[in-house]
Amino acid sequence: MDLNYTPEQEAFRQEARSWLEANAPKEKLPSFDTKEGFEAHRAWEKKLHAGGFAMVPWPVEYGGRGANLLEWLIFEEEYFRAGAPGRVNQNGIFLLGPTIMEVGTPEQKARFLPKMASSEEVWAQGWSEPNAGSDMANIQATAIKDGDDFVINGQKTWASRGAFAHWLFGMFRSDPDSKRHNGLTFILVPLDTPGITVRPIEKLNNKKAFAEVFFDDVRVPIENQLGDEGKGWEVAMATAGFERGLMLRSPARFQDTARKLVDLYKRSVASGAFVAPELRRTVAQCWMDAEAYTLNTYQTVSRLMAGGKIGAEASLNKIFWSELDTKMHETALKLLGYRAELLSGSSEAGDVGEWLDGYIFALAGPIYAGTNEIQRNIIAERILGMPRK
């Protein structure tokens, strides 16, 4: 056990810090849940890519930096320290990208990864269907082989980034006689293909950014199949492991929120405003929990770098960060007291708006990437070995 950074790691941190200080936008970009914000975030991704920092842990040939996961953690710490924009292509770069690297063909890697790294192509997720949410094995959208194509019919919903994205990845039933987890195939679909209708859905934050996607005899070439035919479930589980377990939510994000919360508490006390006494304990607990998540991630990364894999324990992470994020934002709103309902632009709002936006975003955390109830089932059955039936 050695919890010191090497001189090389420190040098990398300095390099990332200098670049971000010089290049990160000084003004907050508009939300990427709007068309304008979506394009502004893509422009930022392009700049990040040109600077060589878009995909720190990816191989250079795919638009990455060829760094290891520990350097990725360092980069993320600097990224949040710099207050740099959210990653508009996170479905692609953090979830699909690692999956393509694991199971994709050489042609697929060359075709998809570089344009993903630069956000020239932004990805939407196509997991859920109206009758396949937590029960994802109940997927009914079909992809039937016809010559060199799959012909896709059916509906996906809650497709994150679906309103503006260029591509969608998802699971479809390629064997119409199959049941449950069998007979599903993981397919990459260009959203401008004829027969696709994207209908944006207004989210709790009043913005139309996720979407329903309808497929009506949509033809997609069979080379867009990722992994083996009929083995989509296994491919999807690899993606879900990365999503829940590591890449999607780096610890720096929560440490950054925790430190802002500590600062808000100190300023609230110093201002002489009423601060409920129990919040002292709650804020300290939030800070400790963000630390715990960080420590745990460093342990995971140490294990992965020594050749280990992420398994069902990813479900522990997903519960922990999603509930922590909600708790931190709830606590901030309590500290803000009577102002906590004010939207940005109100003269009394101060910095309420950002906490309120963050709170509404955090509320989705226990639902997306597999509800926390499903994660608890996974922990009980797959980690602890409790009976399924």
Binding site: I319, A380, L384
Partner: protein, 352 residues
């Protein structure tokens, strides 16, 4: 940067786990409740043969010369087994205090005896008047005024207290402060006492991790066997999710404890905040483990006969040892809000 244990450290943990499986089954723990001293000299002698009491004792004094990272893995196993012998005051707190106090004669006399299992040390807790293991101790490290004193058992007036955990041995101790028994004064005494507190709290936290693992294991086993409505009760989500919640609390507490072990072993500036974070998180996980385990065991868990309460009571009382949770919470809050101690965000370097 490498946040993991070595293969040797894991092998040590395995060896201690196997040893305790053989030498400290729950029947042994329960049998000790009814003996005169509650402690076993035979067990302690065997424990010394595998080196546990002298784990932190330097090799030149006959110990293993290891550090708190190694010891933490051992303490986890002690918590899992429910062992109640004076490991914390002797091996985790007393030995390094005697090693570090600068008194060569004291070190030469007592460290070899600790390593061979021939001396038990008791150390006063700065956060409580209750001294653990005072009755069985040969030497007591006690505070009086601005001094820290090494007091032979014969010079200590010991009033035993009865704990809700029959395995715990607590006492109030009085003594007459004598200059020739003083080992440190003023800032030196404060430093040694502060280090003792952090070492004791870390050792308690590590035991809570082990106790929590044991409570989960017993709950999984019971809810898999016990059937109602024709199915194992562990197949119900209402039961599964409660047990899963303990596992979440446990794994994040473990990260705090392992970091705190490193901080103590390397005397990092963030040591005290790291230890308090570990003590809080491990304590909460173990308490959640005990209340949930009781609930899923139903009425059976509420009996004296069922072994569950061996670990439940341990969780309750360890939570009070070496600074109760509220005390540690206040120490972290003071560091964060009043800058009383360094509270460093791990990895996240402050702006240059």
């Amino acid at each position: 940067m490498e946040f993991d244990f070595t293969e040797d450290q894991r092998a040590l943990q395995e060896a201690v786990r196997d040893f305790l499986k053989g030498e400290c089954p729950v029947e042994f723990v329960r049998a000790q409740w009814d003996t005169e001293t509650g402690r076993s000299k035979e067990f302690w002698a065997k424990f010394a043969e595998i080196g546990v009491p002298g784990l932190l004792v330097p090799e030149e004094h006959g110990g293993l010369g290891m550090n708190e990272v190694d010891l933490t893995l051992v303490m986890i196993e002690i918590g899992r087994a429910g062992l109640a012998e004076p490991v914390v005051p002797t091996a985790a707190v007393g030995a390094p205090l005697i090693r570090d106090c600068g008194n060569v004669a004291l070190a030469s006399e007592w460290l070899p005896k600790i390593a061979t299992g021939d001396a038990i040390i008791a150390v006063a807790q700065p956060t409580s008047p209750l001294v653990p293991e005072a009755e069985c101790a040969d030497l007591l490290i006690l505070r009086s005024g601005d001094g820290l004193y090494a007091v032979p058992a014969a010079d200590a007036r010991i009033t035993p207290q009865k704990s809700n955990d029959p395995s715990q041995k607590l006492a109030v101790v009085e003594f007459d402060a004598k200059d020739d028994q003083c080992i440190a004064r003023g800032a030196d005494a404060d430093r040694l006492e502060g280090m003792a507190l952090d070492r004791g709290a870390l050792a308690a936290a590590a035991q809570q991790i082990g106790a929590c693992e044991q409570l989960i294991a017993m709950s999984v086993e019971y809810t898999t066997e016990r059937k109602q409505f024709g199915v194992p009760i562990g197949s119900f989500q209402a039961v599964k999710h409660q047990v899963a919640n303990i596992k979440v609390a446990l794994e994040y507490a473990r990260s705090h404890v392992e970091r705190a072990a490193y901080s103590v072993a390397n005397d990092m500036t963030s040591r005290s905040v790291d230890v308090s974070s570990a003590k809080i998180a491990a304590g909460e996980a173990a308490l959640q483990g005990s209340s949930t385990s009781l609930q899923v065991h139903g009425a059976l868990g509420y009996t004296w006969e069922q072994d569950l309460h061996v670990w439940m009571r341990r969780a309750w009382t360890l939570d009070l040892a070496w600074g109760e949770t509220a005390w540690h919470r206040e120490r972290v809050a003071g560091a964060l809000f009043e800058d009383t101690l360094p509270a460093e965000s791990f990895g996240f370097s402050p702006p240059a």
